[in-house]
């Protein structure tokens, strides 16, 4: 059992000649962040809307939002990735489907990956938002009504400002999940961090160096996100209302 360790491999040029292996990994990290952040925008906006609708007193709308959550939570992410990438362009009207397939190289994979991760994570965000709203005492909602606010105003000015503060820790976890889940996009050709490590392993045969580096990068990103979100939590905390004690179990 001999494995030849070579930790200086990161400073060697890749066979493609575009840069060092370290550069390959950092470009991969860039795509991980670009995929995760873009998908997070979709997830947060759509998830918040769905979460609100699920608690609103409009039966049919709540039923649709509930069905959305069930569908997107009960199909594996990888299968959803294939549905967006292989199946959707075939089901769309021909010219739109062709336009999706004929996007120039990184985008033909990147766009479906972002949509997939965004819609997948929206279901999870919706679940958190719903739980957050239901965790509030019903007096909050009644107070809004008693003040003469309309239903949308009650949500906007009374309920949601509190809810988003309560659910910051679980949202942090979901954001970390979206970054980790972006690795599934390698199956449809997005060269994010895991795919970059895999490419490095295939070209250099230095398996364990490549994967160790990728692992360390993921850990560093995790730490940055966790500390960043703690800072946000402190910034938005309402003094004397939702204290830091509530946020102990961030991640």
């Amino acid at each position: 059992m001999h494995y030849h360790w070579n930790w200086t491999i990161f400073w060697d040029m890749t066979p493609e000649g575009t840069g060092t292996y370290l550069h390959t990994l950092l470009v991969g990290l860039g795509w991980t962040l670009a995929t995760g952040l873009a998908a997070w925008v979709i997830a947060l906006v759509l998830g918040s809307i769905l979460g609100v609708v699920r608690t609103a007193p409009v039966k049919w709308a709540a039923a649709i939002a509930n069905a959305y959550v069930e569908v997107f939570r009960n199909i594996p992410l990888l299968v959803q990735m294939f549905l967006w990438f292989f199946v959707l362009p075939e089901l769309l009207p021909r010219n739109l489907g062709d336009a999706m397939k004929q996007m120039p190289p990184p985008w033909a994979s990147y766009v479906p990956a972002v949509l997939c991760l965004g819609f997948f994570t929206a279901a999870r965000v919706a679940e958190q938002v719903r739980a957050g709203i239901q965790a509030l005492t019903s007096g909050q909602r009644m107070a809004g009504t008693a003040l003469g606010l309309t239903l949308p105003q009650t949500y906007r000015f009374v309920l949601l400002p509190v809810v988003f503060r309560i659910i910051l820790p679980p949202l942090t976890s979901e954001f970390l999940n979206i970054l980790k889940n972006s690795s599934v996009a390698l199956t449809i050709g997005v060269v994010e961090l895991t795919a970059a490590a895999r490419a490095m392993q295939e070209f250099s045969f230095q398996v364990f160096e490549a994967f160790t580096a990728a692992t360390l990068i993921y850990i560093v990103v995790n730490i940055f996100v966790v500390f960043g979100m703690r800072w946000v939590e402190r910034r938005v905390a309402v003094p004397g209302f939702i204290g830091p004690a509530v946020k102990g179990g961030a991640h």
């Binding site: 294939f82 199946v87 089901l91 390698l186 993921y218």
Partner: protein
């Protein structure tokens, strides 16, 4: 518009999809639940241990597994297991490990970190007085854990453990990255051979959806039945 599709491809390949693909997926899921919960419980006990080194090792392991993507872990173990195998039996070249065994080891090691956090919550949900009562009766650590704490912790956490298992059942589809023929892998092979991607992937999505919906429905029913009224 659906005229150009041939859903008969599903029927023609159903025996292959179920016998080869779904059998792999379900066997893998079953073995990983057992292995993952056992290893996860040990990790949780280590994490809660008063012996500092044990607790540090378990905590680091759990945090490490939870901060990297499963896909990367699958690649790690795929390359690492042959070396570990060689090290165990003292061979001087990496041993060949089959796709199935490699997947079982990978998912057990990965899911154990998630099961461990659930079991930790379960153990912590047992009132402290129960532990003291065990020691007062003269039981040692293993007896107190095995006869008093773990049965209650396990019972409290069964619904969450099963929900995590449904998530894990979905995650096993990621063995696709190693070209293993699980349910999705089998479907994908048929899809590419016959050029029937749309039909096969829609079918796969439907099957997973129905199975997971049924699973979560059963978990909810079980939850109501075994809930302890305090």
């Amino acid at each position: 518009m659906l005229g150009q599709f041939d859903f008969g491809v599903i029927e023609r390949n159903l025996p292959y999809l179920l016998k080869v693909g779904m059998t792999f997926t379900l066997t893998l899921t079953a073995m990983v639940v057992v292995g993952g919960v056992i290893f996860g419980t040990l990790l949780a006990m280590m994490r809660l241990s008063s012996i500092k080194p044990l607790s540090i090792v378990a905590t680091s392991y759990i945090n490490l597994m939870r901060s990297v993507p499963l896909v990367l872990v699958i690649f790690w173990f795929y390359f690492l297991v042959p070396y570990i195998g060689a090290w165990i039996i003292g061979a001087d070249r990496p041993v060949q490990v089959g796709a199935f065994l490699s997947s079982v080891i990978t998912f057990t090691m990965f899911e154990a970190a998630y099961y461990a956090e659930i079991m930790r919550a379960g153990i912590q949900s047992v009132p402290r007085g129960q532990v003291s009562a065990g020691y007062a009766l003269g039981l040692n650590y293993w007896q107190t854990m095995g006869k008093i704490v773990l049965p209650q912790a396990f019972r409290n956490m069964v619904p969450i453990l099963l929900t995590q298992t449904i998530v894990m059942f979905q995650d096993t589809s990621l063995v696709y990255v190693l070209s293993i023929t699980d349910f999705l892998g089998a479907a994908s092979k048929v899809a590419e051979r016959d050029g029937r991607l749309v039909e096969m992937y829609l079918f796969v999505a439907l099957v997973y959806f129905v199975m997971c919906m049924a699973g979560s429905y059963l978990v909810r029913r079980l939850q109501r039945r075994i809930a302890i009224i305090r």
